[in-house]
């Protein structure tokens, strides 16, 4: 009984991960410009992979589940930091090229705190 439930949960999580990853890839292909692309890539790709990793409950193997939890936590922690670093680099480059007002007005993160140089 519990085996069947875990297998169904695992299959559903794999399907969810595939769907979310498909949406991510479609968004990255479809959107133009760095900031929309980063928006699509940073959040949804992480969620797709975390869903696939959470499907490890379907394997009913302790070592696999423990490692999958570690990898999922690592992804949840590091992907926003990496996305912030990329966006920060793009914003600072636009600010150096065009000045603070132009960087804020065009496509910069409005209201974001100024990063220290």
């Amino acid at each position: 009984m519990i085996d069947t439930v875990l297998q169904v949960v695992g299959i559903a999580l794999i399907a969810l991960g595939i769907v979310v990853t498909a949406i991510t890839v479609y968004g990255v292909v479809r959107m133009r410009g760095l900031y929309p692309r980063l928006q699509a890539a940073s959040k949804a790709s992480m969620l797709g992979s975390v869903a696939i990793l959470a499907a490890s409950v379907g394997t009913r193997d302790g070592a696999t589940i423990a490692r999958a939890v570690v990898v999922a936590l690592f992804l949840l922690l590091t992907t926003p930091v990496a996305a912030h670093a990329i966006a920060n680099a793009a914003y600072l480059r636009a600010r150096e090229g065009e000045g603070v007002d132009a960087a804020d007005r065009s496509e910069g993160p409005v209201g974001a705190e100024r990063a220290a140089d």
Binding site: T21, V25, S45, M46, S49, L53, A55, T78, A82, I86
Partner: protein, 89 residues
């Protein structure tokens, strides 16, 4: 889990990986390339997890963890070096 599901999922994720490679090749900017590479590594982590479920060995997830850590450090270093600075500003 039944093998059919995992094999189909592997095929889908491999197709996404190919699309990600196309995005990487078509990117015009350095930062867009970094975004595409980040996306490709996160998809690779999912691919390794599916491979681990298929073969029922857990150590593919160690490789996934190492790949995620390397990707994180590489993304940070590339984003910092875009402005001409070192890794520690």
């Amino acid at each position: 889990m039944p093998e059919v599901v995992i094999v189909v999922a592997l095929a889908c994720v491999t197709a996404f990986l190919a699309v990600g490679a196309l995005v990487l090749l078509r990117a015009r900017d350095l930062l867009e390339r970094i975004v595409a590479l980040d996306l490709i590594t996160v998809i690779c982590v999912g691919l390794l997890a599916l491979l681990s479920y298929l073969r029922e060995v857990s150590y593919y997830l160690d490789a996934a963890l190492a790949l995620a850590a390397l990707s994180f450090v590489a993304t940070l270093a590339a984003a910092r070096s875009d402005r001409g600075g070192g890794p520690f500003r």
